[in-house]
Subunit: 498 residues, 2 copies
Amino acid sequence: MNPQYAEFLAAYRVIARLAEVGALLSWDQETCMPPNAVSDRAEQGSTIATEIHAKITDPAFAGLVNGLLQDASLSDEERVNVREAKRDIDKAINVPVSLVERLSQAATFAHEAWKKARAAGDFSLFKDHLQLLIDLKKEEAVCMGHGNRPYACFLDDHEPGCTEAELDRLFTPLRERLPPLIREITRVKRRLRKGFYSHDFSEAAQKGLCEYISDEMGVPRDRSRLDTAVHPFSTSFGQNDVRRTVRYKTNNPFESLYSAMHENGHALYDLNIAPALAQTPAGSAISLGIHESQSRFWENIVGRSRAFFEAYLPDMRRFFKKQLNGLGPADLYALANEVKVSYIRTEADEVTYNMHVILRYDIERALFDGSLALKDAPAEWNRLFEQYLSLKVDRISNGILQDVHWSGASFGYFPTYALGTMAAAQLAAACDKACGGLDTVIREKRLAAIREWLTGNVHRFGRLKTAAQVLRDATGDSLNPEAFFSYIEKKYAGLYGL
Amino acid sequence: MNPQYAEFLAAYRVIARLAEVGALLSWDQETCMPPNAVSDRAEQGSTIATEIHAKITDPAFAGLVNGLLQDASLSDEERVNVREAKRDIDKAINVPVSLVERLSQAATFAHEAWKKARAAGDFSLFKDHLQLLIDLKKEEAVCMGHGNRPYACFLDDHEPGCTEAELDRLFTPLRERLPPLIREITRVKRRLRKGFYSHDFSEAAQKGLCEYISDEMGVPRDRSRLDTAVHPFSTSFGQNDVRRTVRYKTNNPFESLYSAMHENGHALYDLNIAPALAQTPAGSAISLGIHESQSRFWENIVGRSRAFFEAYLPDMRRFFKKQLNGLGPADLYALANEVKVSYIRTEADEVTYNMHVILRYDIERALFDGSLALKDAPAEWNRLFEQYLSLKVDRISNGILQDVHWSGASFGYFPTYALGTMAAAQLAAACDKACGGLDTVIREKRLAAIREWLTGNVHRFGRLKTAAQVLRDATGDSLNPEAFFSYIEKKYAGLYGL
């Protein structure tokens, strides 16, 4: 190996380890930390962030990377590592620390203001904070050389290579075809065994079921653990330590089960990136959209399939004998796939979910390209919500104040949820062909076959392939909403007798 | 404030925060981490250790500290901070990183060898590893300018200011007076309600009792948490985040209760150092001996007192109604204070414990001053064990291979346990006078009075006073074994009718 390249990898390894330590600080804060330690933890986190920033912007490191960018002898893999490190350096050098700090501080205040505004149902309490975040994010885009198209800059942060034009191509069919489907479905009255939710599902039994399903999915217990957190998430501190969290509601075992399957999907991606890539720039997920495709695949396409209940109902009865008495796979399949338009994105079903996302995308993009003024945004939210989801917004806390992301200056993030949903369906269609029928595989409880296909076609590459290349190589097509429509139309036609 | 001093404090604060992060890595490893992540964790830990080392040895930092050492305008408190930082710098600069790494590596191998040797009952499997650790520690002492007296160097690491002469003064009376007391006690047959240990004490109920007693002792739930670990310990990540661990045996509620009280004693020290000292060199415990005095005070002097059972037996019944049926305070007091000579230091009672410690001290000191050859150490262990504890060592795994410390290159550590035991008794005698009788205070469940006295006389000073000053100011005397003898002779005369 080129000695400069070896030196580069060693330097990057330290940065990667520090990032893992930073992730542990966050995980512990959400799962274990005593409440009064918040300000200590903030300072510990910022100490680590400062160390990472210093190492990324160290002129010696930048010199190494710039030298390697000119080095024609590097392999493709080496080139990817150098390119990804260059992205980190550019971002760290181009965005001044003072702006990073102003953004972080503004987001802290904006988050508090958002909570108050939502409680009071008063957008004016949040508006100026949101405006400041928008202004600071525009300033950041200028620093990154995207002054004329700030939104493209944020999109690239979360979904490298994705453009607004690409989103137009993908989202236009969703805007056209989902709202009529939603109207059609919500007209049908379905008989559901709702008495199910009046049972008591103990936390211990739910945890048992989550652990059992995690074993079935192939999440190794010696490289992972499952904890409780208010907002379920998955994080990793290296390829042998992936932490997943869920929360438990004692009247509903689906929430923890599907959180676990969702987070397991994320975890399997992180766990199965090629070990040789560990602690290199290429050793992490290529994009949020691809990451989300993994969680959606397991949560929805596997976990909410009829075959899943046919296969796993006997196992579920081991944990919930009394509660599942008299229910068959068809009953659980119907319960787990109830379509119900609501105001809350995070509780939305597979059919309505994407329209929640596109609405947020439409508004945030318009705020950045100047076609929508912030003062008009609440009304625009309500107008689009009714258009997309056939429901009138009843109050502003269910409208523009519903979601937390903007209060944290997360712009360009929402679209990745819809990209992940579409990619999941497209990967599922390819996996279905490759493994001789997903339904059969699930019914025979051979989930390892699915995991192995995903590892072989997605996980192992890390950042060695772009998101577009991953999809093209795995499915023979670029990202295309048709697989999603075909999946959802067939599934819900059956469920709702359309 | 002197601007150089402010700059020094800011630089030290970063070092302190990194050390807290390092402590979180260790805590997580003992409580949460999946087993396969060990090597990832080792690398994360060494990344943080390397960062800390780089900051401590940064010439700019050393320049600041050296300048401040000459600054006559500093207050006493400021002077302590500068002096303690200077100790850290000297150690970091004088001991080459390569030696630190060789020691760490040798200890890793030695620990594995010790486990094998103990399992096989064969000292020869461990001997060369132990010799290497001794040689490397001698090398370290030379680097620190203690080439002629290596043991004094290690002693100073754990108990600053303590000398071998001081240990001779303190340990000689223990060597003379404890063995006859042990012989006397073990001749007496006591009637104990041993059926007690055949009950099942659920882990959940034990945890409930531990949390209840922690509340009584004033360990704040919003600044602390209690977890499970194989080897109970306490650690802190700043003054608002102290983690304690215990382990549960379902046939014995004393083990978790006294572990909790022991670790709470450590935790209260860390939690109650004056907040203004946080993240400064003076903001941590002055010595291991003083730290241990706090855990012993709560575990033994409070928790194993007759008054404790008189006060808390009704509360214990809330957790163990059936198991405690028919037992009175005197029964539990007798059970909790059973004296039984065993080979295992960590399971030893108050009377025999110190002799386990002194035996280890005698041997390790002799190994370093050259008066004992390693090949003769097993026989010397057995000879001293019988002399000190009136029991013949039955096998080498209960002899020189019993304890883990030497396999981790921890020399000079054992004496602090005995110092802590003696200091606890001396502090208790002073606290008894100050608060109008410890027994009364405990019987009336006014544990806050004890905690407040300890905070006022020990905790709050951090490193502002030396260990010797703390004791002198709190008790009017330097460390003196008489309080320990007086406590132990009175207590066990009563228990054993001597």
